[in-house]
């Protein structure tokens, strides 16, 4: 029989070794699956690598795909660090997109590029307020935030659907093809976020914004009084109260911060890529949920979220490019699931030691 036992001392270098090993383990498990579906794993992996990294324009696609995950990954990491399990990145992302698109549609024409900061602020505030609902319920009524934030996702999705499919809201395109097929109204081209070029790679503005925010969040958690409070509250709520920290207020703040990060992701979706509020597309992408995987694999380190988002974005990008043609359907999603599975498993193995226990000893 096997038993788990807590490890007393965990070496430092495991911090990065465990995630790397997890990804490798996931690839091995994935290879087994690919073989059993009658394909050659080496060939499949080579093609994934090609369409995510090597091919012309591949890296640009990867960066674009990584951008929303960067925000939702940061959102999850910011909350999970305090043991506040915000599963609502999905909903906060959508609310952010609604706010960002709303501002761009209303002021885009008149303000030009000046509307971009306004989009960011509006999306951040909307996402923060949306998340703060679950935060306040947790802080004052001890409601489980996993459930409330998840429920709020469905509400957000339904609001999105309502705006485009069931109403004549100002988000909806009411002329041209919009009369036949319900769809969002495109924002003014002057409100679209700029791309910058580094060598052959195109970087969306949102990506740089995400990188800067990742660093800011890292500083916030590592160097400020707020970060110190978060750390103590996560470790021992009674010590935090004793030391005069306001645990409830901090829970709501962390939730709002997390929601704001996801919300900015929603604005980037409008400004960087889609240029239109598209609830159906967002629902299919599931950025909020993938963000949780990103945060877990980054071990909740905001700066580590950047490379991990690129990894997951690369997989998404490759999956999209290879779709159809003799490529195992759903493989990319499966690989991402395996990576999460192995990351969580690796986490357990890092903290606990598995021991074989003799039957005779147990029987006593």
């Amino acid at each position: 029989m096997l038993r788990l036992e807590r490890r007393v001392d965990v070496p430092r270098w495991w911090t990065w070794a465990v995630p790397v090993a997890s990804v490798l383990a996931a690839m091995v498990l994935g290879a087994v699956l690919i073989v059993s579906s009658g394909n050659d794993p080496l060939d499949v992996y080579r093609r994934i690598f090609e369409s995510a990294v090597l091919g012309s324009g591949s890296l640009s696609g990867t960066v674009v795909a990584a951008t929303p995950l960067l925000f939702t990954g940061l959102a999850a990491a910011a909350a999970f660090r305090m043991g506040v399990f915000n599963i609502g990145g999905e909903g906060q992302f959508i609310i952010g997109a609604i706010a960002g698109a709303g501002v761009a549609l209303r002021f885009g024409e008149s303000m030009g590029a000046g509307v971009i900061p306004l989009m960011i602020v509006a999306a951040a505030v909307a996402g923060a307020l949306w998340a703060a609902i679950a935060g306040a319920l947790r802080a004052w009524f001890k409601t489980n935030e996993i459930i409330t934030s998840l429920m709020l996702n469905y509400i957000a999705l339904n609001i999105g659907d309502y705006l485009i499919f069931n109403s004549e809201s100002s988000w909806r395109l009411l002329e041209g093809s919009g009369r036949m097929f319900p769809q969002g109204k495109p924002i003014d081209t002057s409100a679209e976020w700029p791309f910058s070029h580094v060598g052959p790679v195109d970087f969306p503005f949102g990506f740089w914004l995400g990188v800067i925010i990742a660093i800011v969040v890292w500083v916030l958690y590592r160097r400020t009084r707020f970060g110190f409070e978060v750390k103590v509250i996560a470790d021992s709520p009674s010590a935090a109260t004793y030391a005069g920290m306001r645990a409830r207020r901090t829970i709501v703040s962390v939730m709002a911060l997390s929601g704001a990060l996801a919300g900015i992701g929603g604005a980037s979706d409008i400004g960087d890529t889609r240029h239109v509020f598209d609830p159906k597309g967002l629902r299919q992408s599931g950025y909020g949920y993938t963000g949780i995987v990103v945060a877990a694999l980054a071990r909740l380190n905001p700066v580590a979220v950047v490379p991990v988002a690129l990894l997951m974005g690369g997989l998404n990008n490759a999956g999209r490019a290879l779709q159809g043609r003799d490529f195992p359907a759903g493989l990319v999603g499966t690989l991402q699931g395996l990576i999460l599975f192995c990351a969580l498993g690796g986490e357990i193995l890092a903290r606990y030691r598995v021991r074989r226990v003799a039957k005779a000893v147990l029987a006593s």
Binding site: R3, T224, R225, D235, S236, A239, Y242, G244
Partner: protein
Amino acid sequence: MTTSLDMATADATVPAVAMSGITKRFPGVIANHDVDFEVAVGEVHALLGENGAGKSTLSNVLTGLYHPDGGEIRLAGEVVRIGSPREALARGIGMVHQHFRLVPTFTVAENVMLGHTGRFNRRAAEDRVAEIGEEHGLPVDPSAKIWQLSVGQQQRVEILKALERDARVLILDEPTAVLTPQEAEALFVTLRRMAAGGRSVIFISHKLDEVMAVSDRVTVLRDGTDVGVVEVATTSARDLARLMVGRDVVFNADDGQERASVDADRIVLRVRDLCAADNRGRPALNGVDLDLAAGEIVAVVGVSGNGQRELAEAICGTRRRTGGTVEVDGQPTSGRDPREMIAKGVSHVPEDRLHTGLSPSASIEENLVLKSYRRPPISAGPFVRRRAVRRNAETLIERFGVKTTGPTVSTRLLSGGNVQKVLLAREFSAAPKVLVAASPTRGLDVGAIETVRGLLLDASRSGTAVLLITEELDEALALADRVAVIYEGRIVGVVDRASADLTEIGLLMGGGRPPAEEL
């Protein structure tokens, strides 16, 4: 069940436990260095040493929690490798930790039977627990829930748990630290009885008189090595102290020290009619009145569970007051917010050090600024100044003699006594107006106790009013200007140190009627 230890009863000359050459290293420290340790069948064997000497580490090696880097363990002559506490228990070694590991919402019987596989039969379990309790003189109601029990009773449950698995060797890590003197007395009787019945008891304590009273032999550890094994019959407390510290120890150093001059006109803590409820919502404080002048030390003594904890918490703002007022230096306080009390200059050494007073996973340096991180010089605007945090830690570690490999070590990894020093260092260094200290010397070695008592006197000399909550009358009488007796949530008598009479205080503690003029 057949375990290797059953054979021991047959041959009493083979030691029940023989550890030889045990070495255990942690990053940066050698907690045990080539330690030999032997316990005979049927003896109570004390393990003595200063804070951080390696006592807990050695017992954790024996119970399989730590794996030694070197050395050998024999149980009844047979070399064994102990992989986990569970394996240790299966081999007949039980441990009662300083922090109990019981499930508060479970009954006594459920807790004792926890870890058994198979079906749980309530009736059978309760009968069995009652039977073992009776057999060993450890009466406890098997159907009571753990949270309803006093700390002393909870400890009995822990012992029963080990006995139920038929532990032949029982390790108790500072068991008396949480007990009242009466409860400790009862525990000693139990331990002697278990030894007489052929079991072996390893008893870890800092209190020399207890060690002298209960044990047959003593092994002394100093800085991770064993410096001697002595028979209690042929030694004295003074010799043990010398062996432990490595030099002569002066007992009762404080008696000679100059006392603070109490500024009776400046009342810095005025408590009026204070009421509060305990964790279960029942009234625990029923109208407490107290005045503390600047530079005064007032000890609150009483049998534990008479509202001491609630008194400290209600004053310091961590427990809601249900009535009454607390004034600090003439200013009223709302009592709704610990931060308010901290800002008004009230320091608090809580009973539960590691989880209330400290953030266990945070580093030592972080815990040392747990309250001061909000203000300069530790913070600058929204930022915490890491340089200032480090400097603060280096000063305090040095000044309070915290034994550690560095300021960034996680506080949880320190030895019990050093955890406490971190907490005391922070609270004393805040230069408080009022210091509320719950049993500040509990769990400390003799040297550290002297240091802490000296610090309390220092604090009072610099004008701090000290409210010392303690169960040790000796300590109260050695330090306090006045002794207040608490009983069922009320102060039933206040006695001046000069006119203190032990029997009278004892009577008051037990709820006896005080003479009229003392009230």
